[in-house]
């Protein structure tokens, strides 16, 4: 049973269409993350749900209530803004109390609710100081508290962690997720940070240019990206993409050199059909050294250029033919500049995309994994 449902939402600012036919929902107790590059329309989407913007067309439902025309304050939404937007001239207590006071909640009830939330978020010692004296993480918590204290129907968060330093961001990520697991309030969370999206989401939505490219569980999107953009947007380092020619004998070859090409399994050949050029993609962590006959996969020889040390693992940057590629290894031994390495990627870890549409060419034996594809795709 979806709690928040967006039906065919369109939004234009003058001539510029920022949202195109958005269909999505946030289920009961679900944490949905909308992720995309800046300017993709994700914040506008959130503001429409909040009631700070109204859609040009389309419907917004909260349970069985049509709220498209309902003003922001009557939607009972808790919103956490990017810069927290705390009332700077009020104490933390008053910040939390203000909304309830505006609704004429009884003072004793206000006090009770604030005490509860303050305890939950561990901000009791801060109640009587002003936001100016708080650290970034504390402000963040107060902002969450202000959204929480009114027992909202849903939570909206607009890049709430982007003003924090890296370490605090990681901690708040876990804290927010834990809070969600306790409260189970439907949450729509907007971010441009794919790590945040992957780690926090029950389901995630990837947006670009005002459209939903793909929505689904983080694993689905990671392992079965529907487009080249999604494939490269998720994951760090991003997926390697190599443009390959399809030879008449249904082998594939890198553009330029490598005339003999690489033989590909029959089922993939079927998928490629009559296409001449396709994108071939593989994740850096799926690249393994060739061990004779052990795995059947995409075998190729790459030249190492630089090695980045991350402690637990190494990111190796090199080239396969002319194409730059990156792979991940835990073994530093023997990795020096300009050596050649024989590598392989198991066939079931290789992604194929149409060169013209940039869409995924679905392999038959994986059709069983359900993938929801949203928008106009």
């Amino acid at each position: 049973m979806p709690s928040v449902k967006l039906k065919a939402i369109n939004k234009s600012f003058g001539q510029r269409q920022v949202l195109q036919h958005i269909d999505m929902d946030v289920g009961d107790g679900e944490f949905v993350v909308v992720v995309g590059p800046s300017g993709c329309g994700k914040s506008t989407l959130l503001r429409i749900v909040a009631g700070l913007e109204s859609p040009t067309s389309g419907e917004l439902w909260f349970d069985d209530r049509l709220v498209t025309q309902v003003p922001a304050h009557a939607r009972n939404i808790g919103m956490v803004f990017q810069n927290y937007a705390l009332y700077p001239h009020m104490t933390v207590f008053d910040n939390l109390a203000f909304g309830m006071a505006a609704r004429k909640t009884a003072p004793s009830e206000i006090k009770h609710r604030i005490d509860e939330v303050a305890q939950l978020l561990e901000i009791e010692p801060l109640l009587h100081i002003r936001p100016g004296a708080l650290s970034g993480g504390q402000r963040q918590r107060v902002a969450v508290g202000r959204a929480l204290v009114r027992s909202p129907f849903a939570f909206l968060m607009d890049e709430p962690l982007s003003n924090l330093d890296a370490l605090l961001r990681e901690r708040m990520r876990v804290e927010l997720r834990r809070l969600h697991d306790r409260m189970r309030i439907p949450t729509l969370y907007v971010t441009h940070d794919q790590t945040e999206a992957m780690t926090m989401a029950d389901r995630m939505v990837v947006m670009r240019n005002g459209r939903i490219l793909q929505l689904g569980r983080p694993e689905e999107l990671y392992h079965r990206p529907s487009t080249v953009f999604v494939a490269q947007f998720l994951g760090s380092p991003p997926m390697n993409l190599v443009s390959v020619k399809v030879l008449p004998d249904k082998r594939v070859a890198l553009a330029g050199k490598d005339p003999q090409g690489i033989p590909i399994p029959a089922r993939i050949r079927e998928q490629i059909g009559g296409r001449n050029v396709v994108w071939l993609g593989f994740r850096p962590e799926r690249v393994v050294p060739q061990t004779h006959g052990a795995v059947e996969g995409l075998d190729f020889t790459a030249t190492v250029h630089t090695v980045e040390t991350l402690g637990a693992r190494y990111h190796v940057h090199g080239t396969w033919g002319e194409s730059p590629i990156t792979w991940v290894t835990t073994e530093r031994e023997g990795l020096t500049g300009s050596i050649k390495m024989k590598l392989t990627v198991p066939w079931d870890r290789v992604h194929w995309f149409d060169a013209a549409t940039e869409e995924r060419m679905v392999s038959p034996d994986r059709e069983s994994i359900p993938v929801q594809v949203g928008g106009t795709l």
């Binding site: 009631g51 700070l52 922001a72 803004f81 810069n83 937007a85 009332y87 700077p88 203000f98």
Partner: protein
């Protein structure tokens, strides 16, 4: 010593070894001295103008307020507080203080509130057609010369042919003598002053309103805070530094009002400040005492009194503001 050291450290090292050009600069240093000299050199021209035309006369004024000083005589005699005691026994001086107080107490709040209201209105309409034009129209009176527009307002206030009485007639209200009436002359000046100065304060308030953080206003919107409560609890506290600035500026400006009183109440109505001293404010009396009756010492004493009053008022305002103004 090949190590590159900053100039200041260099000077210190040199002086310590006695090898520098200016060994006595060990506690200061050559670089700081140069900085200081260049700095003072740059502000010297304007400082000179200030000293000669502003601080100089001000200090001289403080001097002659305690002397019997005549512009034609080379001798001046010390009279102590004599000038002040003469002032105390002059009814017109008390009248002028009263007029100034009446004027300030009405003009400052009215101008401030009107400016705030106009700024809120202009902010709401800024995106509508003609929004920019309205802003310009509100600000326009302030850029007009006081003397020129005062003469226009003398005509507006003309009891027989003026626009002011025409409007009252149209509204079926009793007509007034305006500048020729003892009761209405000072209010007429107030009306002119509000008209002339409200634009400046409106622009200041507009600037303040434009710095309101957008997301805080949106948070308030989501909290369901609207209308008067939004204004009273969010907007007003957040622009309080601007409000304080406007009130202080308006107070100082109105306490020093001179040109419009001189122009509006002079001319066809005889000497300025009338009728019957009803528009004689402090600054006008200071001017008249000095340049009409040539009692420079007496007028200097008056200036000191006005100065003390403005200073006291500003300090009181500052004290109040420290408790009420919220600085982000």
């Amino acid at each position: 010593m090949n190590r590159r050291v900053p100039l200041s450290e260099d000077a210190r090292v040199n002086s310590a070894t006695g090898g520098g050009l200016l060994p006595w600069l060990s506690w200061w240093n050559a670089y700081a001295l140069r900085e200081t000299l260049v700095g003072y050199g740059l502000i010297l021209p304007s400082l000179l103008v200030f000293l000669v035309f502003y601080y100089g006369p001000a200090i001289f004024l403080m001097y002659i307020a305690f002397f019997h000083w005549n512009i034609f005589a080379s001798q001046s005699t010390f009279v102590g507080l004599h000038n002040f005691s003469v002032l105390i026994h002059q009814p017109v001086f008390w009248q002028s203080l009263l007029n100034t107080g009446y004027y300030v107490v009405l003009v400052v709040p009215v101008t401030t509130l009107l400016a705030l209201a106009l700024a809120l209105l202009l902010r709401e309409t800024r995106n509508l057609r003609g929004g920019g034009l309205s802003q310009a129209l509100v600000f326009l009176p302030h850029v007009t010369p006081v003397v020129a527009t005062s003469i226009i307002w003398v005509w507006i206030f003309d009891p027989t042919f003026g626009l002011a009485n025409a409007v009252l007639h149209f509204l079926h209200l009793p007509q007034l003598g305006w500048l020729s009436s003892v009761h209405w002359a000072l209010p007429s000046v107030m009306i002119y002053t509000v008209w002339h100065s409200v634009g400046l304060y409106t622009v200041l308030f507009l600037a303040g309103l434009s710095t309101l953080p957008k997301q805080v206003l949106e948070a308030a919107q989501m909290d369901g805070v609207r209308g008067w409560m939004l204004f009273r609890r969010i907007i007003l506290p957040l622009i309080s530094p601007i409000t304080f600035f406007v009130i202080v500026l308006a107070t100082i400006n109105t306490m020093q009002t001179f040109s419009q009183i001189y122009t509006l109440t002079g001319g066809p109505h005889g000497g300025a400040g009338g009728p019957a001293f009803s528009t004689t404010t402090d600054s006008l009396l200071i001017y008249q005492t000095a340049f009409l009756y040539l009692h420079f010492s007496l007028s200097s004493a008056m200036s000191l009194v006005l100065f003390a009053l403005i200073l006291t008022l500003t300090l009181v305002q500052k004290l109040i503001a420290d408790r009420m103004v919220f600085y982000r």
